[in-house]
């Protein structure tokens, strides 16, 4: 209970480690866009935010998207704006990139590439993990 009171007490000094895990390709489902919007909202709460891209989630960061033909919003450029919201911890899983023939050069933002073991450790040290 006292923990809860602390959390609600203006939030001062309470910084938790939040990880947002993105595992879906863009456009085919709404998960990628919704996940990105939640991350942007989370920036308002001054938490320690990490964004992780694994499996088909790595496709969210591909350069050179042109969504005119399918008439949906191209939100990929928004990943570049994350820095402005102090969300700078972007991680991609090496194994997911390799399985899709992708390298860091194919991505629209600077990321840290981690192997599965390193990703697992990072995930284990989080207070909150939210998956999209």
């Amino acid at each position: 209970m006292s923990d809860m009171m602390d959390d609600m007490d203006g939030g001062e000094g309470v910084v938790k480690k939040f990880m947002f895990v993105n595992r879906k390709a863009p456009h085919g489902t709404v998960y990628a866009l919704e996940g990105l919007e939640v991350v942007l909202i989370s920036a308002a709460f001054d938490q320690d935010v990490s964004m992780v891209f694994t499996d088909d989630g790595v496709y969210e960061l591909i350069k050179g998207m042109n969504t005119k033909g399918i008439e949906v919003k191209d939100f990929s450029k928004t990943y570049r704006a994350l820095e402005g919201y102090d969300i700078e911890k972007l991680y991609v899983e090496k194994e997911s990139m390799d399985a899709r023939g992708l390298t860091e050069d194919d991505l629209i933002v600077d990321v840290t590439v981690l192997d599965s073991g390193e990703m697992a450790s990072l995930m284990a040290e989080q207070d909150v993990v939210i998956s999209f």
């Binding site: 390709a25 456009h27 496709y59 998207m65 042109n66 005119k68 899709r100 023939g101 992708l102």
Partner: protein
């Protein structure tokens, strides 16, 4: 028959099932997230290439463009636009959408 697949091959097994069932001379059209399977370096690329011995693989261009994948399409895959999609549907007696 025209087979249509719309899910990523690294998330669902619909492309795998489709390629197992597609008979010689049939066509397979990849749309939406399924287009990743027709790109160089993807985990499904080898299966798609092997399938091209018996079936013609098509990929929807606007979906490739939207995903930044237009420059990575495998050799032998024919890219079609929405008009081409309609042509494929009319040219074949039946369609199977692998949901």
């Amino acid at each position: 028959m025209l087979h249509i697949v719309n899910k990523s091959a690294t998330e669902r097994n619909s492309l795998e099932s489709c390629l197992r069932m597609a008979t010689k001379g049939s066509a397979v059209l990849l749309i939406e997230d399924a287009v990743y399977a027709a790109t160089q370096g993807s985990a499904a690329a080898a299966k798609v290439q092997a399938a091209m011995a018996d079936v013609q693989i098509y990929a929807l261009g606007p979906d490739l463009d939207a995903r930044g994948m237009a420059a990575r399409v495998l050799d032998g895959v024919k890219v079609v636009d929405y008009g081409g999609f309609v042509d494929l549907v009319t040219e074949h007696n039946s369609c199977q959408s692998w949901l």
